[in-house]
Protein backbone atom coordinates (compact mmCIF):
# COMPACT_ATOMS: atom_id res chain seq x y z
CA UNK A 1 0.00 0.00 0.00
CA UNK A 2 1.35 3.41 -0.94
CA UNK A 3 1.43 5.95 1.82
CA UNK A 4 2.55 9.52 1.66
CA UNK A 5 4.01 11.37 4.61
CA UNK A 6 4.08 15.15 4.35
CA UNK A 7 6.60 16.79 6.67
CA UNK A 8 6.26 20.53 7.19
CA UNK A 9 7.84 23.06 9.49
CA UNK A 10 5.73 24.07 12.47
CA UNK A 11 3.92 27.37 12.26
CA UNK A 12 6.17 29.47 14.46
CA UNK A 13 9.41 28.10 12.98
CA UNK A 14 11.18 30.42 10.58
CA UNK A 15 11.72 28.83 7.18
CA UNK A 16 14.79 30.31 5.45
CA UNK A 17 14.35 28.03 2.44
CA UNK A 18 10.73 29.07 2.00
CA UNK A 19 11.83 32.69 2.27
CA UNK A 20 14.48 32.24 -0.41
CA UNK A 21 11.97 30.55 -2.73
CA UNK A 22 9.57 33.42 -2.07
CA UNK A 23 12.22 35.98 -3.02
CA UNK A 24 13.12 34.01 -6.14
CA UNK A 25 9.48 33.88 -7.24
CA UNK A 26 9.22 37.63 -6.77
CA UNK A 27 12.47 38.01 -8.70
CA UNK A 28 10.85 36.15 -11.59
CA UNK A 29 8.07 38.69 -11.55
CA UNK A 30 5.32 36.59 -9.94
CA UNK A 31 3.16 38.96 -7.94
CA UNK A 32 0.70 37.99 -5.24
CA UNK A 33 2.79 35.38 -3.44
CA UNK A 34 2.08 36.10 0.22
CA UNK A 35 4.27 33.45 1.80
CA UNK A 36 6.16 30.24 0.95
CA UNK A 37 6.82 27.29 3.25
CA UNK A 38 8.99 24.41 2.05
CA UNK A 39 8.49 20.86 3.28
CA UNK A 40 9.15 17.24 2.36
CA UNK A 41 7.10 14.48 0.82
CA UNK A 42 8.12 10.94 1.71
CA UNK A 43 6.47 8.05 -0.13
CA UNK A 44 6.30 4.70 1.59
CA UNK A 45 5.35 1.40 -0.02
CA UNK A 46 3.96 -0.61 2.88
CA UNK A 47 2.67 -4.12 3.44
CA UNK A 48 -1.08 -4.24 3.99
CA UNK A 49 -0.75 -5.22 7.63
CA UNK A 50 1.24 -2.14 8.66
CA UNK A 51 -1.00 -0.31 11.11
CA UNK A 52 -1.74 3.39 11.42
CA UNK A 53 0.00 3.27 14.79
CA UNK A 54 3.14 1.86 13.15
CA UNK A 55 3.16 4.63 10.55
CA UNK A 56 2.66 7.21 13.27
CA UNK A 57 5.60 5.73 15.17
CA UNK A 58 7.75 5.88 12.00
CA UNK A 59 6.92 9.57 11.69
CA UNK A 60 7.65 10.37 15.31
CA UNK A 61 10.82 8.29 15.56
CA UNK A 62 12.49 9.22 12.30
CA UNK A 63 10.63 10.84 9.42
CA UNK A 64 9.82 14.08 11.24
CA UNK A 65 11.70 15.94 13.95
CA UNK A 66 8.74 16.90 16.10
CA UNK A 67 10.73 19.66 17.78
CA UNK A 68 10.41 21.69 14.59
CA UNK A 69 8.21 19.73 12.20
CA UNK A 70 4.62 18.52 11.83
CA UNK A 71 3.63 15.53 9.74
CA UNK A 72 0.53 14.38 7.96
CA UNK A 73 -0.08 10.83 6.70
CA UNK A 74 -2.06 10.11 3.57
CA UNK A 75 -2.82 6.52 2.56
CA UNK A 76 -3.46 6.21 -1.16
Amino acid sequence: MKTRVYVTLKGGVLDPQGKAIHHALEGLGFAGVNDVRAGKLIELDLADDVSEADIDAMCRKLLANTVIENYRVERI
Partner: protein, 222 residues
Amino acid sequence: MKSAVVVFPGSNCDRDLAVALEQVTGREAAMLWHRATEIPNDIDIIAVPGGFSYGDYLRSGAMAARSPIMRAVADAASRGVAVLGICNGFQILTEAGLLPGALMRNAGLSFICRDVKLTVENSQSIFTSRYDAGEAVTFPVAHMDGNYIADQETLDRLEGEGRIAFRYAEPVNGSAHNIAGILSDAGNVLGMMPHPERVIEPAHGKTDGRRLFEGLVETVAA
Protein backbone atom coordinates in the same frame (compact mmCIF):
# COMPACT_ATOMS: atom_id res chain seq x y z
CA MET B 1 41.85 8.28 31.04
CA LYS B 2 40.41 6.66 27.93
CA SER B 3 38.53 8.41 25.19
CA ALA B 4 36.59 7.24 22.17
CA VAL B 5 35.50 8.87 18.93
CA VAL B 6 32.38 7.63 17.20
CA VAL B 7 32.76 7.29 13.43
CA PHE B 8 29.83 7.36 10.99
CA PRO B 9 29.96 7.03 7.24
CA GLY B 10 30.52 10.65 6.24
CA SER B 11 32.23 11.80 9.44
CA ASN B 12 35.23 13.95 8.51
CA CYS B 13 36.44 15.51 11.76
CA ASP B 14 36.96 12.19 13.54
CA ARG B 15 40.73 12.16 13.09
CA ASP B 16 41.13 15.79 14.24
CA LEU B 17 39.09 15.01 17.33
CA ALA B 18 41.12 11.87 18.03
CA VAL B 19 44.36 13.85 17.74
CA ALA B 20 43.07 16.49 20.17
CA LEU B 21 42.02 13.83 22.69
CA GLU B 22 45.28 11.92 22.27
CA GLN B 23 47.32 15.06 22.90
CA VAL B 24 45.62 15.80 26.21
CA THR B 25 45.04 12.26 27.47
CA GLY B 26 48.38 10.89 26.29
CA ARG B 27 46.58 7.78 25.08
CA GLU B 28 45.25 6.69 21.76
CA ALA B 29 41.53 7.33 21.29
CA ALA B 30 39.37 4.32 20.45
CA MET B 31 37.57 4.74 17.13
CA LEU B 32 34.06 3.27 17.39
CA TRP B 33 32.27 2.44 14.15
CA HIS B 34 28.57 3.35 13.94
CA ARG B 35 27.50 -0.28 13.82
CA ALA B 36 29.06 -1.08 17.20
CA THR B 37 26.44 -1.81 19.83
CA GLU B 38 28.58 -1.40 22.91
CA ILE B 39 31.00 1.12 24.31
CA PRO B 40 33.75 -0.36 26.46
CA ASN B 41 33.13 0.28 30.15
CA ASP B 42 36.50 1.94 30.69
CA ILE B 43 35.80 4.81 28.28
CA ASP B 44 35.63 8.12 30.17
CA ILE B 45 35.03 10.53 27.30
CA ILE B 46 32.99 9.94 24.14
CA ALA B 47 33.31 12.38 21.26
CA VAL B 48 30.83 12.63 18.39
CA PRO B 49 32.62 14.31 15.48
CA GLY B 50 31.70 16.75 12.78
CA GLY B 51 31.15 15.90 9.16
CA PHE B 52 28.24 14.87 7.00
CA SER B 53 27.10 11.59 8.52
CA TYR B 54 24.97 9.61 6.08
CA GLY B 55 25.25 12.50 3.63
CA ASP B 56 22.93 14.64 5.80
CA TYR B 57 20.07 12.57 4.36
CA LEU B 58 16.59 13.41 5.70
CA ARG B 59 17.96 15.97 8.20
CA SER B 60 21.51 16.64 9.42
CA GLY B 61 22.28 13.99 12.03
CA ALA B 62 18.92 12.22 11.70
CA MET B 63 20.20 8.90 10.40
CA ALA B 64 23.27 8.83 12.65
CA ALA B 65 21.10 9.49 15.71
CA ARG B 66 19.25 6.22 15.02
CA SER B 67 22.37 4.11 14.43
CA PRO B 68 23.25 1.30 16.87
CA ILE B 69 26.21 3.12 18.44
CA MET B 70 24.02 6.02 19.52
CA ARG B 71 21.94 3.78 21.75
CA ALA B 72 25.17 2.85 23.48
CA VAL B 73 26.19 6.53 23.66
CA ALA B 74 22.82 7.36 25.26
CA ASP B 75 23.34 4.56 27.81
CA ALA B 76 26.83 5.83 28.61
CA ALA B 77 25.54 9.42 28.91
CA SER B 78 22.89 8.26 31.39
CA ARG B 79 25.67 6.66 33.45
CA GLY B 80 27.40 10.05 33.56
CA VAL B 81 30.10 9.47 30.95
CA ALA B 82 31.19 12.76 29.34
CA VAL B 83 29.86 13.15 25.79
CA LEU B 84 31.11 15.92 23.50
CA GLY B 85 29.37 16.51 20.17
CA ILE B 86 30.89 18.99 17.75
CA CYS B 87 29.15 20.39 14.65
CA ASN B 88 27.46 17.37 13.04
CA GLY B 89 28.00 15.74 16.45
CA PHE B 90 25.82 18.47 18.02
CA GLN B 91 23.16 17.88 15.37
CA ILE B 92 23.29 14.14 16.09
CA LEU B 93 22.95 14.68 19.87
CA THR B 94 19.85 16.85 19.41
CA GLU B 95 18.34 14.38 16.94
CA ALA B 96 19.03 11.59 19.43
CA GLY B 97 17.29 13.55 22.19
CA LEU B 98 20.41 13.80 24.36
CA LEU B 99 20.18 17.57 24.04
CA PRO B 100 17.04 19.69 23.57
CA GLY B 101 16.13 21.73 20.50
CA ALA B 102 17.17 21.36 16.88
CA LEU B 103 19.66 22.79 14.40
CA MET B 104 18.09 24.23 11.29
CA ARG B 105 19.43 25.61 8.03
CA ASN B 106 21.52 28.78 8.58
CA ALA B 107 19.35 31.87 8.38
CA GLY B 108 21.39 33.20 5.44
CA LEU B 109 21.14 29.84 3.60
CA SER B 110 24.92 29.82 3.08
CA PHE B 111 27.50 27.38 4.34
CA ILE B 112 29.51 29.39 6.87
CA CYS B 113 33.21 28.58 7.15
CA ARG B 114 35.21 31.10 9.14
CA ASP B 115 36.54 32.00 12.57
CA VAL B 116 33.90 33.34 14.93
CA LYS B 117 34.15 35.05 18.29
CA LEU B 118 32.41 33.26 21.13
CA THR B 119 31.71 34.12 24.72
CA VAL B 120 32.18 31.43 27.33
CA GLU B 121 28.92 31.68 29.24
CA ASN B 122 29.43 28.94 31.80
CA SER B 123 32.89 28.22 33.17
CA GLN B 124 31.65 25.74 35.78
CA SER B 125 30.97 22.82 33.44
CA ILE B 126 33.27 19.83 33.06
CA PHE B 127 34.04 21.10 29.55
CA THR B 128 34.71 24.76 30.30
CA SER B 129 36.51 24.76 33.64
CA ARG B 130 39.71 26.12 32.11
CA TYR B 131 37.95 29.20 30.79
CA ASP B 132 36.70 32.27 32.63
CA ALA B 133 33.02 33.14 32.55
CA GLY B 134 32.54 35.89 29.99
CA GLU B 135 35.87 35.16 28.32
CA ALA B 136 36.07 35.80 24.59
CA VAL B 137 37.49 32.95 22.51
CA THR B 138 37.79 32.37 18.78
CA PHE B 139 36.89 29.02 17.24
CA PRO B 140 36.24 28.21 13.59
CA VAL B 141 32.78 27.21 12.39
CA ALA B 142 32.03 25.24 9.24
CA HIS B 143 28.38 24.38 8.88
CA MET B 144 25.19 24.68 6.86
CA ASP B 145 22.75 23.79 9.65
CA GLY B 146 23.80 25.62 12.80
CA ASN B 147 20.70 27.70 13.42
CA TYR B 148 19.70 26.58 16.91
CA ILE B 149 16.01 26.56 17.67
CA ALA B 150 13.97 25.47 20.68
CA ASP B 151 10.63 26.49 22.14
CA GLN B 152 10.56 29.46 24.51
CA GLU B 153 10.20 27.26 27.58
CA THR B 154 13.35 25.30 26.65
CA LEU B 155 15.30 28.50 25.92
CA ASP B 156 14.24 29.95 29.28
CA ARG B 157 15.31 26.77 31.01
CA LEU B 158 18.70 26.69 29.24
CA GLU B 159 19.28 30.34 30.22
CA GLY B 160 18.03 29.89 33.77
CA GLU B 161 20.03 26.75 34.47
CA GLY B 162 23.27 28.09 33.01
CA ARG B 163 23.24 25.44 30.31
CA ILE B 164 24.40 27.72 27.52
CA ALA B 165 28.11 26.94 27.43
CA PHE B 166 29.08 29.12 24.47
CA ARG B 167 27.34 32.00 22.77
CA TYR B 168 28.27 33.71 19.49
CA ALA B 169 29.54 37.22 20.27
CA GLU B 170 27.49 38.43 17.31
CA PRO B 171 24.83 36.77 15.12
CA VAL B 172 26.33 34.07 12.87
CA ASN B 173 23.61 31.74 11.64
CA GLY B 174 20.33 32.90 13.12
CA SER B 175 20.62 30.84 16.32
CA ALA B 176 18.13 31.64 19.05
CA HIS B 177 19.84 33.67 21.79
CA ASN B 178 23.05 33.38 19.70
CA ILE B 179 23.49 29.89 21.12
CA ALA B 180 26.66 28.15 19.94
CA GLY B 181 26.81 25.31 22.47
CA ILE B 182 24.59 23.84 25.18
CA LEU B 183 24.88 21.43 28.08
CA SER B 184 22.55 18.62 29.06
CA ASP B 185 20.43 18.70 32.17
CA ALA B 186 23.04 16.69 34.09
CA GLY B 187 25.91 18.69 32.58
CA ASN B 188 27.86 15.73 31.19
CA VAL B 189 26.82 16.24 27.56
CA LEU B 190 27.98 19.25 25.53
CA GLY B 191 26.94 19.97 21.97
CA MET B 192 28.48 22.87 20.06
CA MET B 193 28.69 24.00 16.45
CA PRO B 194 32.17 25.63 16.55
CA HIS B 195 35.25 23.41 16.29
CA PRO B 196 37.60 23.58 19.33
CA GLU B 197 39.60 20.64 17.94
CA ARG B 198 40.75 22.81 15.04
CA VAL B 199 42.51 25.31 17.30
CA ILE B 200 44.64 23.30 19.69
CA GLU B 201 48.24 23.91 18.64
CA PRO B 202 50.29 26.90 17.46
CA ALA B 203 50.44 25.46 13.93
CA HIS B 204 46.66 25.97 13.76
CA GLY B 205 47.19 29.70 14.25
CA LYS B 206 45.21 29.71 17.48
CA THR B 207 45.04 27.51 20.55
CA ASP B 208 41.78 28.63 22.20
CA GLY B 209 40.24 25.19 21.84
CA ARG B 210 42.94 23.29 23.66
CA ARG B 211 41.72 24.26 27.13
CA LEU B 212 38.36 22.64 26.47
CA PHE B 213 40.05 19.26 26.10
CA GLU B 214 42.53 19.91 28.94
CA GLY B 215 39.77 21.02 31.30
CA LEU B 216 37.62 18.04 30.37
CA VAL B 217 40.41 15.57 31.04
CA GLU B 218 41.26 17.31 34.29
CA THR B 219 37.69 17.30 35.65
CA VAL B 220 36.88 13.79 34.45
CA ALA B 221 40.08 12.47 36.04
CA ALA B 222 39.33 14.22 39.35
